[in-house]
Symmetry: C2
Subunit: 454 residues, 2 copies
Amino acid sequence: MEKQKRFILPENEIPTQWYNIVADMKNKPLPMLNPQTKQPIKLEELTGLFSRACSEQELNQTDAWFEIPEQVRDLYKSYRSTPLVRAYGLEKALDTPAHIYFKNESVSPVGSHKLNSALAQAYYCKQEGVTNITTETGAGQWGAALSYAAKAFGLELAVFMVKVSYNQKPYRRSIMQTFGAQVIASPSMSTKAGRQIITESPNYQGSLGTAISEAVELAMQTPNCKYVLGSVLNHVTLHQTVIGLEAEKQMAMAGEYPDMVIACFGGGSNFGGLSFPFMRHNLVDGKKTVFLAAEPASCPKLTRGIFQYDFGDEAGYTPLLPMFTLGHNFAPAHIHAGGLRYHGAGSIVSQLIKDGMMKGVDIPQLESFQAASLFAQTEGIIPAPESAHAIAATIREAKKCKEEGVKKTILFNLSGHGLIDMTAYDQYLAGDLTNYELPDEIIKENVSKLDKIV
Amino acid sequence: MEKQKRFILPENEIPTQWYNIVADMKNKPLPMLNPQTKQPIKLEELTGLFSRACSEQELNQTDAWFEIPEQVRDLYKSYRSTPLVRAYGLEKALDTPAHIYFKNESVSPVGSHKLNSALAQAYYCKQEGVTNITTETGAGQWGAALSYAAKAFGLELAVFMVKVSYNQKPYRRSIMQTFGAQVIASPSMSTKAGRQIITESPNYQGSLGTAISEAVELAMQTPNCKYVLGSVLNHVTLHQTVIGLEAEKQMAMAGEYPDMVIACFGGGSNFGGLSFPFMRHNLVDGKKTVFLAAEPASCPKLTRGIFQYDFGDEAGYTPLLPMFTLGHNFAPAHIHAGGLRYHGAGSIVSQLIKDGMMKGVDIPQLESFQAASLFAQTEGIIPAPESAHAIAATIREAKKCKEEGVKKTILFNLSGHGLIDMTAYDQYLAGDLTNYELPDEIIKENVSKLDKIV
């Protein structure tokens, strides 16, 4: 009974600021560009689409700390701090000398870390007099989080949900509707971008890139409406740093500091949210922590993508972003980790990879579900298929520790639970899941279509 | 920011004992009877079916406190203490002077309070050399919990799942299978009890009573196998008192003591688990807290059932229990709160009702979903359809407080989340749900078939 299992902060220890890693980076990320002029995006160009507060956060390269607004902190208190948990069960099953910790964001009321930014973005929109917001969602974790956040601040929300998830994950759609949101399968007939894709490919099952195009288009055409995004951009990751800032204090409660920090990677917000507060100590205090971003082998933008200016969406409505990308016209394989099916990495993470501060690791789908099952049976929590990638990468490292006889402290992010993703587990149990490795030719062909700016 | 939202105990404050209310009751519950001899059940008769430790706990009327085994406490630490939460959002929406608190058992890794007893029962079986266990499950909350507990202690588990839930809630079935359990739709062809019912009524969608019969039969016919139950019996409720014992300390952290304690009622384990530690102070310290058990209007055993010796299962395999019952042959309406569709109340609760220590309140299905939606939109958590009954009863009381201008402190149990029950919410949102009030004649007819022992 001496071994402490979970570490939870008292409410007055919940962070009151978010951390902006850009302020501490020696090489700043390249700027977003206006696709027409190829000039750096100005604040006024962003505020047409996003709230002013988020636009300012997006472009800020000098302030390391941003106050978390009091109303957001009040709502954080309904589920934060999330527990830091020592995975004794998993360690025992692996017979590893490694100490494995995970930050359990799955205990958020909507089941994932996504609420951290949803509450912040909804708050800023409300403050600025916005009445309607639009967004996209892949697997539905972001859409569920924003649906509750919109209700909490009295905003009307339209969610474009990637069609394959809309059909495969009806529970997530129902969750959004229970919170009062309008949910539309994407591609839809509601927007020009959607209509064009449906006309060209009537059976297209959608992608995050397409859903973003539709949400952006609707926001631009609706009075008093802003667009809200769940990952990729700097301000979203900024809001997620509450995860890592809590984890830092909690690791100290456990008397440890991580040698490795691991998170799954879709657009980068749960990865950056956990990692950046620890990476800060690499940047400013000379720590040597290793950072791994676990992506699906079927969507390997970090390890096999090209660093290039590219659009954030399918139709080319967004600014050009400097990113490791598979091409914005990339149609990802229909793996179950819907949240990781995105063609590019955010500009901060892309710069950090160039600078050798972190690296990507590719996880085949079957390995991710094997890891998820072991984790479920040893720790009792069924992880989201996305989070399973972080678990798989952690298990690889813990096995290396055993082989090499080295004790390392590994921290990973359990970004969400998989209770709404059980059809994926059904298929895994039935032996119906397969691996898919993206052929080089497809990457080359996609990327060859991009304007060569970098 | 001064208002504290959640109250969580440090690990060393998690209770180390369970509370047995029978020891403090002036009028003890009537004994279970052997259905053949009509004599009180002896320990040796129970141990054929249940583990010895649980059998002893079941019959103990003198010891108020039982040590929680260290291995169970270690596993409790992965999710306990669960938070006590002040429902500021709900209070505001109701504009009530009442202070509303809820104990959030939904953060358990399997999504409900059921794990508290599952871990204990699996532990005792393992200690006693048992290798296989059987159980039944209605909505699937108990089956999911026991599946993880069985895996944690290395036991093989067969779960008989009520057929209507097996078909309506495939995700819960998948959760059990992911943890490694075997799941069988009940009634099944695997047992004599099941075969008989299928032969008589080929389309019968099952009931908890039938599933219990099948699980008991399989346990009795399998070597080294015990039967494990998720509610109704004294030892199950005993294990659940960790909820109320934590809540007592947490209410003290909040500087309050409840005027009312409310929980939903199926077999009584989440109700007793939260209530009994507070009711102890009514019994021994003269407190005047009011206790409400919220049941579905379609299965109103507490308010409209008959106090009578009855079987716990459909086929009549169990001992006779002194209970408020609708008759063990009662086929409940197919409401969505599957965990509340049980014909009888446990013997402790039945005695407490007779003694006026608590009372039942009937909630129509539509009112429960209205309450659930309001709670989801104000507190961010989608409740299990079962827990929604407690929320509905709480809202009634909070509205009374407003009408009468009285400030009361109300504590209810959020026994589980509803993320796996979204088809029910879909039907509610579509306007397809109805109320069903049980006709008096059906109750009279069912109960008329029982042996008149009391």
